[in-house]
């Protein structure tokens, strides 16, 4: 039995749209349109897709917040709708944009409330809290009211809060949104650690492909409510994320450079954007060719954004709706 099972799951919403002055039209929107997916214990799965693709809706059905319109959802063999409370004991959830901590209370009080809500045994609680404080360098934060924590500090608190009751599965909805690179890194290292040490299964949605590359062995892409890709990160990158952009700051403005294998897509004063394909040449080769023509002061390589990859994948998948 897989830890998570979705079988032809659908979720539709009716939305009222204004049509004319008074008249309102009711329209059926299928947020999730037939998703089948299984996740094995111990896996780390990235669940990505553009805004409105159905990611959060899927997570909400898995966690028992939303009831599917059709199909079956099983979490550890349980139906999250019927056995919501039993499922709640087995899952941990972190919403990047919504805090589950008590805003006015010190972090330690939030933890202790959650301990009572989940009925975590005292020794287990002490052990977990100790471990998380060490991994997340959180000791100094325990006495601080949650509203006074920075986003990065709060996110560390959220992670610990979601894991206090030793859940088998951790769902993360955009856990790194709005975090600075250092905080992002702390979150990622922590997730790797708990996955390895505790065997916690992790399912995360994100717009940051770096999260997925660093963490996930498996990448599932959803668009317009349907799964359009389910494989490893490398294979998806190689297949779709072929175009990169080299941004160079030259010593002085020059006309757009002509370089074989690359194309100037934008010029802004001394700065030029050169698009090139991974298969044609490496960033170093391109840089050498640019340097041969003009003096380079600074440079960055832009990887394709996740949205671009998703769009590219979607274009390559005309089977979508």
């Amino acid at each position: 039995m897989s830890l998570l099972e979705l079988d032809r799951v659908e979720k539709s919403f009716t939305v009222s749209v204004r049509a004319g002055r008074i008249r309102r039209e009711r329209r059926l929107v299928r947020a999730v349109a037939g998703v089948s997916l299984t996740v094995e214990e111990g896996a780390m799965v990235g669940y990505i897709g553009p805004n409105g693709a159905g990611k959060s809706t899927t997570i909400k059905m898995l966690t028992g917040i939303l009831v599917p319109s059709a199909g079956t959802v099983r979490v550890a063999g349980l139906d999250p709708t019927r056995s919501r409370i039993d499922v709640a004991r087995r899952i941990g959830v972190v919403f990047g944009q919504r805090s589950q901590l008590w805003w006015d209370l010190p972090l330690a009080d939030s933890f202790s409330l959650l301990r009572h809500i989940h009925r975590v045994p005292a020794d287990r609680y002490r052990h977990n809290l100790g471990a998380f404080c060490e991994l997340l360098a959180m000791d100094d934060l325990l006495a601080v009211p949650v509203r006074q924590l920075s986003l990065g500090q709060r996110m560390r608190g959220e992670l610990a809060a979601a894991l206090l009751h030793d859940p088998a599965i951790l769902f993360l909805d955009e856990p790194t949104i709005g975090l600075d690179p250092v905080a992002k890194d702390a979150v990622r290292s922590f997730l790797v650690e708990i996955n390895e040490e505790r065997g916690t299964t992790v399912v995360l949605t994100t717009h940051d492909l770096a999260d997925v590359e660093r963490l996930c062995d498996r990448l599932v892409i959803i668009d317009r409510g349907q799964l359009i890709e389910d494989s490893t990160v490398q294979s998806i990158r190689q297949r779709y994320g072929t175009e990169r952009t080299l941004v160079v700051d030259l010593e002085a403005p020059v006309p757009p450079l002509t370089i074989p294998g690359a194309e100037v897509v934008r010029v802004d004063g001394p700065r030029q954007w050169l698009r090139f394909r991974r298969a044609d040449l490496t960033a170093t080769e391109l840089l050498q060719r640019v340097a041969a023509r003009a003096a380079v002061r600074d440079l960055t390589v832009e990887e394709p954004a996740i949205e671009d990859i998703v769009r590219a994948i979607y274009r390559g998948n005309p089977s979508g709706p």
Partner: protein, 252 residues
């Protein structure tokens, strides 16, 4: 709750305010009885008992259950999702999250009125009469609580429902402080059978005071309050469950 204690002065002032508001309610009754001696066959002292029991019931419901009316706010803010992620019923969590001890103020004044009026009314106190008072108060609290849950459930379909809920709960508390026979025919039937506010206080208190069963009800109706409360509570629970299945959450 803990937050309440952070602001002790404000807490005390709020208590006073609540007691004052409750006092004004009672003043209305006093004003009415300064004009007439008897209201629908009830003396001022008897109405005071009625007011006291319904007031304490309402206060209890207000203290423990009225927090559910905040569900609409939580749904809109998306924080209701979090309640669904914890292994405790969302009703209990709502009640706890919004618990305000200061609401006890609303209960103090009717309790005082009840304690003053009860020994003065003409009642032959037997076992039945003694038991009837707490049973009535508790059943009434459950009825108010169930009405709160029922009206708050509407929030899952419509977004802003607090006013609808208030009409039934605060309106209900105002209505049950009076002998319901003062109401017109159809309104009387609504509060007896549709929204059983009559059982909060009027019907059982009539029995307590040795009056014939009002509203054309049979004799045993006087003891039906716990049954009515249980049925209403079960209905409320079922509606609440269905409502949660209709929860749509918010974007993101």
């Amino acid at each position: 709750m803990r937050a309440d204690w952070q602001y002790r002065t404000s807490f005390v002032l709020f208590l006073l305010g609540q007691a004052l508001v409750a006092g004004l309610d009672f003043a209305v009754i006093a004003v009415i009885f300064s004009r007439v001696d008897v209201l629908a066959g009830w003396s001022a002292l008897e109405v005071a008992v009625l007011y006291g029991t319904s007031g304490v019931s309402f206060g209890l419901g207000d203290l423990f259950v009225s927090q559910v009316e905040r569900v609409a706010t939580h749904i809109r803010a998306g924080t209701f999702d979090l309640f669904l992620l914890r292994p405790i019923g969302p009703l209990v969590q709502l009640s706890g999250a919004e618990f305000a001890l200061r609401r006890i103020g609303r209960m103090v004044q009717p309790l005082v009125v009840l304690c003053i009026a009860l020994p003065r009314v003409d009642v032959t106190w037997g076992l039945v009469e003694v038991a009837l008072v707490p049973v009535t108060v508790l059943s009434g609290a459950v009825i108010f609580g169930a009405i709160w849950v029922l009206t708050s459930s509407v929030a899952f379909w419509l977004v802003d429902t607090q006013e609808v809920a208030n009409a039934f709960t605060y309106g209900g508390s105002a209505v049950t402080a009076f002998p319901l026979d003062v109401l017109g025919g159809w309104l009387r039937r609504i509060v007896t059978f549709a929204v059983p506010l009559a059982f909060v206080s009027y019907v059982p208190v009539a029995r307590l005071l040795g009056k014939p069963p009002p509203l054309g009800l049979p004799e045993p109706a006087a003891f039906a309050a716990p049954a009515v409360a249980t049925v209403l509570a079960l209905v409320a629970r079922q509606v609440w469950r269905v409502a949660i299945r209709h929860h749509r959450s918010t974007g993101s």
